[in-house]
Amino acid sequence: MSCEYALFLGCTIPNRLPHLEVSTRMILKNLDVNVRDLPGFACCPDPVGFSALDRFTWIVLASRNLAVAEEAGLDVLTLCSGCFETLKTADYVLRNENGLKEKVNEALAKVGKEYKGTVEVRHLLQVLYEDVRPEKIESTVEKPLKGIKVAVHYGCHVLRPSEVLQVDDPFNPTSFESIVKATGATPVDYLKKFLCCGVGVRSVDEDTTNRMIEEKLRYVRMSGADLLCVICPFCLIQYDIGQFQINKALGTDYHIPVLYYPHLLALAQGVSADELHFKFQRIKPDAVLEKIEKL
């Protein structure tokens, strides 16, 4: 397989959780997926806050990013589900809403850019599942994670609205489990698998966000999973830092490691835990790393 994508990092991964970028670049290299860092990308911007302030500005700024990728002639690979929803929605509405493209291009002309609609926006999950395929992932695994039980959390902005995002079945998706199985690990089912992480209300209603985190973790713990695996940095922040916070706020005692999928795959590809910098996460995955060590 030879393909190349424009790597859209967004803000959260490169500027708050750069260790996630480390594992992502590692696994993509091991899977022969070429990525290019294009100059000139800006904030996606965030699909919860900025669409709410002014949907048109949100679309204009997103299409500016698409125009940057179009100039390079590369499809866009996003690592954050927020960035994915923003860029994919912009692309979708520019193709479907009458007159919008002309209005957006009028604004973009002021900075010498134009949206043409010539590139595709892809989520990391999609690239791994549809373009790379689980068989290829499996072929790069040196240390199958046999017996490691993984609870997957899809999150919202990769699945819904399905009419726009078109990644997987919004209520019965299987792509994430498939790429987890490719590492040799076992995906486990749990109640409230599709509960939103709640980051969208973090700044306006802390109690609700805490209770959303707690309910998810309660069922993950009941499932006997060794870890919770996510594909979005905001979900990771919610369940990692958020887990620490709810233990204080609600008096709970959760200690469930939260891994970004590239971290899980990198471990299966034989990368040492030291190179993955778990020290930057609040909940240390020592117990599961020890289990993997003994495999």
Binding site: F41, A52, C196, D205
Partner: protein, 180 residues
């Protein structure tokens, strides 16, 4: 609270139905699937998507656009996905928030985020500590868009003025924001 005809804004409903996603508003038959599947409603019954749609249908601008409850939506789109009538509930709530923002009624944290976007071109710009961490992690130097380019666009759409126009808590109380 007794509703009077003066609290009904007849133009308000069409402001929503004239938007691309808002035209699905009229299809609502109030079955409450949206509230039943809403992850926020489970914990905070103040946020009730069915009631937001009902109030929008009835032209109750004050109870939607001027009510802080619309800002409790996480935009998870579960309601839109599950609505048996194809009402784009979450998108309609986004349109309501846009109207609310035009009146300066958006939360303070969004003003902060928007100001960061205008200043740096991104909401979470790299700090010195992060740049040195990136170097230690052997990550490449990323060349982001010049912030002036972002400001040119936000001034063309009037976004910069909108961000400045946020009303303080005291001001919103004076304008009679409905709190239930």
């Amino acid at each position: 609270m007794v509703e009077t005809s003066s609290s009904i804004d007849s133009r308000f409903r069409s402001l929503i139905t004239e938007t691309h996603e808002g035209e699905t508003l009229n299809l609502c038959y109030q079955c409450s699937t949206c509230s039943g599947c809403c992850p926020v409603f489970r914990y905070n019954s103040q946020f009730n998507p069915r009631r937001i749609i009902e109030n929008t249908l009835l032209g109750k601008r004050d109870r939607t656009v001027k009510s802080p409850e619309i800002w409790l939506c996480t935009v998870c789109h579960t309601c839109t996905e599950k609505c048996p009538q194809g009402v784009k509930v979450s998108e309609i709530i986004i349109e309501l928030k846009n109207l609310s923002s035009k009146e300066g009624l958006f939360p303070a944290h969004l003003q902060e985020e928007a100001k960061a976007l205008l200043e740096f071109g991104m909401v979470s710009p790299p700090t010195k500590a992060i740049l040195s961490r990136r170097e230690k992690l052997k990550l490449p130097v990323i060349e982001n868009a010049p912030p002036e380019e972002i400001r040119t666009l936000t001034s063309a759409t009037g976004f910069d003025k909108l961000v400045e126009g946020r009303k303080s808590e005291e001001e919103t109380q004076e304008t009679g924001v409905v709190e239930e």
